[in-house]
Each structure stands twice: as structure tokens, then as C-alpha cells.
Amino acid sequence: MQHNVYLYILVMAVVTYLIRVLPLTLLRKQISNTTIRSFLYYVPYVTLAVMTFPAILSATASTWSALIGFVVAVVLAYRGAGLFKVSVGACLMVFVLELFV
């Protein structure tokens, strides 16, 4: 059976949007339970940490350039650089390192 690309895209878009929109619209009240509040407070930090490492190591052409890019980003962020500086700093570091590999 021949499938239609646009129907595939429609199915994808609907499923993905529902996943995103349901919690945002169905759960509008502030939760008062301390444990759940604490859980939701910790979620972003854990999620972003899990997504960053070790995935960053395989993002570039070599593990070493990625690892050093990671360290540079951590140091820049620790010293108070903003989103843009940290991000571009890591990119530049990787770019320069890979010129020599």
C-alpha cells in the first residue's frame, strides 16, 4: 500500500503536539504538595545534565575536541558568562582544535 508523506507528517505533528500541550493545558493550578514541587524543580537540571553528557562527546568530529569544548563551556558558565558566550565559546574551541587534527 502506498503511503502519503503528508499524512505521515500530519500524524507526527498531531502526536507530538498533544504530548506537549496536554500537561500545559490540563494542569494549570499551582501544585501545593512539597514533594511534587521539589520534583518539578529538580527535573530541568537532571534532564539537561542527562542530555548533555555523554552525548556531547559524540557530537563533533572527534571525542577530544568535544571533551575540551565541554570543559570550556563548564568553565565559562561557572565564571558567569551568559548563554551566548558559553555556547559560542565552546563552538570556537571545537573549531580551532579541529583545525589541528
Binding site: V15, R20, L22, L76, V94, E98
Partner: protein, 243 residues
Amino acid sequence: MNNNRTWYVQGIRDGIPIFLGYLAVAFTLGIAAKNAGLTAFQATIMSITNLTSAGEFAALGLITSGATYMEMAITQLVINLRYCLMSFALTQKLDSKLPLFHRFLVAYGVTDEIFGVSVSVEGKLNPFYTYGLTSIATVGWTLGTYLGVVSGNVLPARILSALSVALYGMFIAVIIPPAKENKILAGLIAVAMATSSLFTYLPIVREISPGFRIIILTVVIAGIAAFLFPIKDEIAQEKSYAA
């Protein structure tokens, strides 16, 4: 009104790294889309309506193999289920009195990156900040996809490689500063990265897909932390003057 405009502009500014990172990733997505037989128009429509990387990459494989629509729906559900968790966290950042249409609009932009930057705002989240991030991110994602399809080699591999760390750099910029003042957060981040590494390299558990790895580790680690270190209400309450 003026406040909203300020937040929107700030969102666009903070979204520049997302734009760069998305441009690079979507570019490779565009190349894959072309190989899967999609036209530039179809690939662009897919990117603007879905705004998700792993989901779209997986979809290309399914389209090529002629999977059923049900298989497509289930795959997207499994891969993108982490957005559900993010929306749960995000819904608490929005004012409960906010008109409902804002929530429908914010939902469109719940990606790893836009979520990560949106929650880093102190206090309540003004939706216009997320709109700024989403606007520029969507342009990068869609444009990157289009360019990837029409010209597979407009960006040299060297630049693509360097730009690929932009998104991770942003995550780091979001999680490190608060961890500087909060030892519990610092410990959690270290534990999260360590267990994530174990789950990536150890036999058996490495078979778990990245999407589920993120969900499982987040629920378990944040759950344990919530029991061990419940936060005092004044922090959790989050001052609402920022909105």
C-alpha cells in the same frame, strides 16, 4: 505590553545559540530527508510542524520503510514522551491566571532547548520570552532543513562539527550557574551525568533508547532528590515579580 515586548526581544537574543545549533542539526536532517526521498517542500513542512530532531530523524526511517500510520504515531509518542515531562515542569512556571491561548502557543515550542532556556528564567515565566526563543529557533530549524535538502554541501563539515556543540553549550550555561550556589544541584548534575554515561556504555542498559533513558533517569534521580532534599516553600513558591 511594553514588558512583553522586552521579553520577546530578550528571547530572540537568548535564542541565537539555539538558532545556530538548530541550523547545523537541521542541515543534516535535510540531507537525510533528501536521501529518504522527500522534496524540499515536504521536509520543510515536516520541520515547521514538528520542531523536533530525534522524532523527525526516526520518521524518515519509517517513511522509507513504508511503515503504517499507527507505527508512526507510536514511534513519535515513545521518542517525544520526554516533552510531556518538560511540559509538566513548564506549566508550573506559568501564571495560573494566564489566558489559555498562551498555553497552546507555548506548547508548540516545547523542545529540549527552548524548554531548558525558558525554565532558567527566575520566578514566573512570561510567555513572550518563550515566543522569542521559539521564533528564532523555528527559523533556524526550518531554514536548516530546507538548505540541507537543496544543497547538501553549502556548509563545510568543519563548521557543522563545531556548531553541533552549540546546543550542549547552552544546556551547560543553564545548569551550571544555579549549581554554583546550590550544592544539592551541583551533586545532582554530577550524578545525572555519571548515570547517563553508565546507561550509554554499559551492556544491556545501553539498549534503552536515548528518549527513554532521559525519562527514566530524570524521574528516578529527580524523584529521589525530591524525597531526600525537599525544597523549602519560599524557593519553590518562586517570586512572581519577574512576570
